[in-house]
Symmetry: C2
Subunit: 162 residues, 2 copies
DNA sequence: GGGAAGGTTGTTATAACATAACAGCGCCAT
DNA sequence: ATGGCGCTGTTATGTTATAACAACCTTCCC
């Protein structure tokens, strides 16, 4: 059990970010097409905004962007689009920051885990197993439905600087 | 590594709750005494309020209680006392609920993990290791300082009812 | 004793995050 | 054509959190 290799968290390492954005958009578009989901202009634009950066954006940050583009100016607009993206696994909520990030593994079923840099705010997304917690839950007769795993610390860049 | 036995999460199982409260208060008092921490009336009372229930209380829930007792009526009073308790490991913040619980293992150095029942709100606290996340972090050159691990689901009682 | 320093509480004001509730509109299936 | 549904637009409000400063008290040093 759980002998799968750990892998590097997506988002923190150097990468071709334009390709990163394009790939994610492409996957999400396909997924919506095959699953009959309605990727409306607002929803698509919110996803694009999240994809621009591997940091957590607050709903009001997103809303500001939308408003500047004439796509909606009231909080529910942003919260609803973000809700859609989160519900379908295209984005994740970062509890520790009251914010949202685009999913780094869209279209793949996964329990996300996050590495959040407290200095630069960048966020890496790893796929993680929580075998030990599950065992502990079993012992208590607890049925886990959803797991939030967020680690805060310093990313490789910020470690060097500090 | 990590072959330690998982153990049942504290707080969810049947237990003598008066003893649970008394023990925790006792440990916190001793710890404050030996570490020169100032467990003022407000701080102590907030801890007692948290200890009454194994559910997450919001800062404003706590504040309401304090106000009723003449111990303070403005948000900073509650947030400051909660901050003190969290800073010294006598309480934990539950990110997924914007709330706080008394620590179930005060005085022991530990990374907490929580089992949160979405129906009754009760919270179990387990000690957990996050070896796989740590490996993933290492691969990214990320230095983890703090980990939030919260599992939401159904506790043993609520599983039966549903 | 006088007075500076540090820590805690008291208070005002406001910032930041989130949702309830309802109105209107377009699509499309019966 | 019309009724249902999903999405957007809007008002209003609810909830969570903190900045900034004033007042007070203890401690410690001169």
């Amino acid at each position: 059990m759980s002998e799968r290799k750990a892998e590097q968290a997506a988002g923190l390492a150097r990468h071709d970010h334009s390709a990163c954005i394009a790939d994610a958009l492409d996957v999400v578009e396909r997924t919506c097409a095959t699953e009959g989901l309605n990727l409306t202009p607002v929803r698509r634009r919110v996803l694009e905004i999240l994809l621009e950066t591997h940091t957590a954006l607050g709903a009001y940050d997103v809303l500001e962007r939308l408003a500047a583009e004439g796509l909606g100016s009231k909080p529910p607009i942003a919260y609803r689009a973000l809700g859609f993206l989160v519900d379908h696994g295209f984005a994740h909520r970062i509890e520790g920051r009251n914010g949202f990030v685009a999913c780094a593994h869209p279209g793949e079923r996964h329990e996300p885990a996050f590495l959040i840099c407290r200095t630069c705010g960048r966020i890496g997304e790893a796929r993680i197993e929580t075998a030990e917690l599950d065992r502990s839950a079993d012992l208590s007769g607890f049925e886990v439905e959803r797991t939030v795993l967020e680690a805060e610390g310093l990313c490789h860049r910020c470690v060097k600087v500090s």
